[in-house]
């Protein structure tokens, strides 16, 4: 049993940390987050072409680096630590995983190759006001000769207004729940697609609304068999959830680190406030949360690796993803919220960065199911089955 980074994984993590410290500075984050696009195109080119990060776990046959999910999680954690503004989670966590799980060889070869060479992508599945389960899929698909016609509206699509490639979840018009679900992959400039940026409370990650108005696609845009895509989509969402949980570890870690640094500098009553037990005990609780969160996220990353490779341990993906997301969501929120408290008055100013982490903590908590949603998913498994 070696539940720790290999030397190579450690190196990848350290490289990501060093690179992001250079490029994802607080100034860079603040500059990118106020734009509608939400990221610097030059930086994305650097990330995708120089660092080759989007290609990280794309197989070598499709122009990728052929690394695993643990490496992806290590990188995602560092991105969370610096609040990197880039379409990485949408492109890699959602779309690359979608192509790896559900894409045909032709789709993989075409789109993974495009992503490896710098294109961005995302996945859209949620209707307005929905929660992230099968009922969220309300956009429809109807056969039209050799192809299909797609109609409907999505919200909460990460980087949906800028992505070059879209993976869309739709359903047969008379279906419900997990039945009749299909996945399509297509260029975002396909006729009939309109996309609109939605301003978000967490400005460091962009969301969009996408409307499909009689979008005509060929049969070869369908991923897998029409109407049979729910198991694949469930797996894709679980994989994205694991990547997101790793990002939350980074948010939780930086919230702790910046709070320790601040309280060590700040002097009141003649002492640095970090010397008071009231402060130390809060910081200790934050460290407990982030370390436990890290254990959960990396365990889930190992399981995600097994799931992508189709090995037996991979059957635990849904459980591992829910455990990680439930815990990491609360850890990130607890640490960022406690971080504001430890910063005192400056914690609620726009000038200090802790507020940005607080907002990222909340947006990541909501995304792909909050802690209560994941606990209920686990409760069904624990409490509602046959005889225990």
């Amino acid at each position: 049993m070696e539940f720790r980074f290999t030397e190579e994984q450690q190196m990848i993590r350290d490289t990501a940390e060093a690179f992001l410290a250079e490029v994802s500075t607080p100034a860079a984050v603040r500059e990118a987050m106020v734009t509608e696009r939400g990221y610097s195109e030059a930086l994305w080119q650097q990330i995708s072409q120089e660092m080759m990060w989007p290609a990280l776990h794309i197989p070598e046959a499709f122009g990728g680096l052929g690394l695993g999910f643990v490496e992806l999680a290590a990188m995602q954690e560092q991105m969370g630590r610096t609040l990197l503004c880039a379409p990485f989670l949408s492109t890699v966590g959602f779309a690359v995983n979608a192509l790896l799980v559900a894409g045909s060889e032709a789709q993989q070869s075409h789109y993974l190759g495009e992503i490896a060479s710098g294109k961005t992508a995302t996945l859209a599945f949620m209707a307005p006001g929905s929660r992230p389960d099968a009922d969220a899929i309300q956009a429809t698909c109807a056969a039209d000769g050799d192809g299909f016609r797609l109609n409907g509206e999505y919200r909460y699509v990460l980087d949906g207004h800028t992505a070059d490639i879209l993976v869309l979840a739709v359903r047969d018009p008379d279906s419900a729940g997990t039945e009749g679900v299909s996945l399509f992959v297509l260029p975002s400039d396909t006729a009939g697609i309109s996309r609109q940026w939605l301003p978000t409370m967490d400005q460091t990650r962009k969301q969009a609304r996408i409307v499909l108005d009689n979008v005509r696609v060929e049969g070869d845009a369908c991923m897998g068999a029409p109407g049979q895509a729910w198991p694949a989509l469930a797996k894709i969402l679980d994989l994205a959830t694991v990547a997101l949980a790793a990002e939350q570890v980074g948010v939780a870690q930086q919230s702790l680190d910046s709070s320790v640094a601040y309280t060590t500098e700040r002097v009141q009553f003649g002492r640095t406030i970090a010397s008071y037990q009231a402060i130390k005990h809060k910081a200790a609780d934050m460290m407990l949360k982030v370390e436990a969160a890290r254990s959960a996220a990396y365990y889930a990353a190992c399981i995600a690796d097994e799931a992508l490779a189709g090995r037996p341990l991979g059957s635990g993906l849904a459980e591992a993803a829910s455990i990680a997301k439930a815990y990491c969501s609360e850890a990130a929120f607890f640490n960022a919220g406690s971080g504001i408290q430890l910063h005192g008055g400056v914690g609620i100013t726009a000038e200090y960065d802790i507020q940005l982490y607080f907002k990222r903590a909340k947006s990541t908590e909501t995304l792909l199911g909050d802690a209560a949603w994941h606990r209920e998913r686990l409760a069904r498994q624990l409490l509602d089955g046959g005889v225990a």
Binding site: M1, E2, F3, R4, F5, T6, Q9, Q10, R13, V70, L256, V260, T263, T264, R271, T272, A274, S275, Q277, I279, K280, H281, A283, A284, D285, M287, L288, E291, A292, R294, S295, A296, Y298, Y299, A301, C302, I303, L313, S322, I323, A326, Y327, A372, R375, E376, L378, A379, L382, L383, D384, A388
Partner: protein
């Protein structure tokens, strides 16, 4: 990262499982799942017999070096043994203080004569030890020990005077290891000695402490000119603190997965109750049961990280530093959850006058978890100061 055990370790696991299946039965059937924390007063004689059974099979002291009667089992194998032992319902170990604390201390710091005298009895499951550290005025502040040891110049023996408290299984043990002040003028952690003292002598009196459960795992131990042979001091006079701290380092987490298996048994029982009495349909309780499940799974992942050795920066193991605070808080919450799942029935004691059910006893005893072995407050100080580098408390 790799999650699975090696094929050799899996073979070892099979050996453990099959030995337990063949031996933890018949006369030992009644003590399965008994004698754990909060239940240590039960089946004492049977559990002592079981220790000898384990010893015959070569399953005591498996982590010790072979020359001292152990198997030199790897950390992974010790983890596997503890996990399978708990899964099979192996009773609370009477010999754990001797095996995990006294033995390793003698192996590291003891003389050859001390090893020859004391290790075989521990290994054979025939001689039991208890721990004489805490005192009425030395709890979290362990260095504030007042018990004194004085060399009697006429007999050449040590004479020990003072009082220890919170001594588990003192009334069932033949020996106690004691830290006591060899230099009466000394303060704090200087001037202490580490002594091996026989319990069966006129100078030692044991008084049980009745706990909130109505049972007595813990005791007070009074030393009134108790005798200790001249060479029953480990290390030199004045080195007691070094030996005592070294001893605390021997608990390297190999028992954690076994402990978690006990927790799993408790959680499983709570799930059974919830399904039977309808609590499993209550949305708020469903959330809490799932939270307990999540917490226990992460405890396991955390242990796997801890046992794989090394934090992310290869040196400081942060996941090890949070372990006590994490499990004790989790377990205390589990106790409350058990009562809330039982609902009105949680108040009713199954046997008059005060024979608590396992869950009731667990609920009450988990209040001790966040206190013994370093309170949660002390744990937070340690985490903040040693792991996060925040300024140390001024010492008065």
């Amino acid at each position: 990262m790799k999650l699975s055990f090696s094929p050799e370790d899996e073979l070892f696991r099979e050996e453990v499982v099959s030995w337990l299946a063949d031996n933890l039965c018949g006369e030992f059937e009644p003590i399965r799942f008994r004698g754990g924390p909060g239940d240590e007063h039960s089946f004492v004689e049977e559990r002592k017999a079981w220790e000898q059974k384990l010893a015959e099979g070569g399953w005591t002291c498996i982590g010790w070096p072979k020359q001292h009667g152990g198997r030199a089992a790897t950390v992974e194998q010790q983890v596997i043994f503890n996990e399978e032992y708990a899964r099979a319902g192996g009773p609370g170990r009477m010999g754990h203080i001797g095996e995990t604390l006294m033995g390793p201390t003698l192996i590291a710091f003891g003389s050859d004569a001390q090893r020859e005298r004391y290790l075989p009895g521990i290994r054979a499951g025939r001689e039991f030890w208890c721990q004489g550290y805490s005192e009425p005025s030395a709890g979290s502040d362990l260095a504030n020990v007042k018990t004194r040891a004085r060399l009697d110049e006429n007999t050449g023996e040590w004479r020990i005077n003072g009082q220890k408290v919170w001594t588990s299984l003192a009334h069932e043990s033949q020996y106690v290891f004691v830290i006591a002040r060899t230099d009466p003028e000394s303060v704090a952690h200087k001037g202490l000695g580490f002594f091996l003292v026989a319990m069966d002598q006129p100078g030692v009196t044991v008084r049980p402490i009745e706990q909130l459960t109505g049972t007595s795992e813990f005791n007070e131990v009074f030393f009134d000119d108790a005798v200790c042979a001249a060479d029953d001091i480990v290390g030199a006079p004045g080195e007691g603190w070094k030996v005592a701290m070294g001893l605390l380092g021997f608990e390297r987490g190999v028992s954690t997965l076994g402990q978690q298996m006990l927790f799993q048994n408790e959680l499983d029982e709570i799930v059974r109750v919830a399904r039977a009495n309808g609590a499993a349909r209550d949305p708020a309780l469903r959330q809490r049961i799932a939270e307990a499940h999540i917490g226990l799974r992460i405890m396991r992942f955390n242990s796997m990280r801890m046992l794989s050795g090394g934090g992310d920066d290869g040196s400081l193991q942060k996941e090890a530093m949070i372990y006590k605070l994490y499990w004790s808080s989790w377990h205390r919450n589990l106790g409350k959850l058990a009562m809330d799942v039982l609902g009105a029935e949680s108040e009713i004691v199954p046997e008059a006058p005060y024979g608590l059910s396992r869950l009731q006893s667990m609920y009450l005893f988990t209040r001790a978890d966040t206190i013994y072995g370093g309170t949660n407050q002390i744990q937070r100080n340690i985490i903040a100061e040693r792991a996060l580098g925040m300024p140390r408390e001024p010492r008065g």
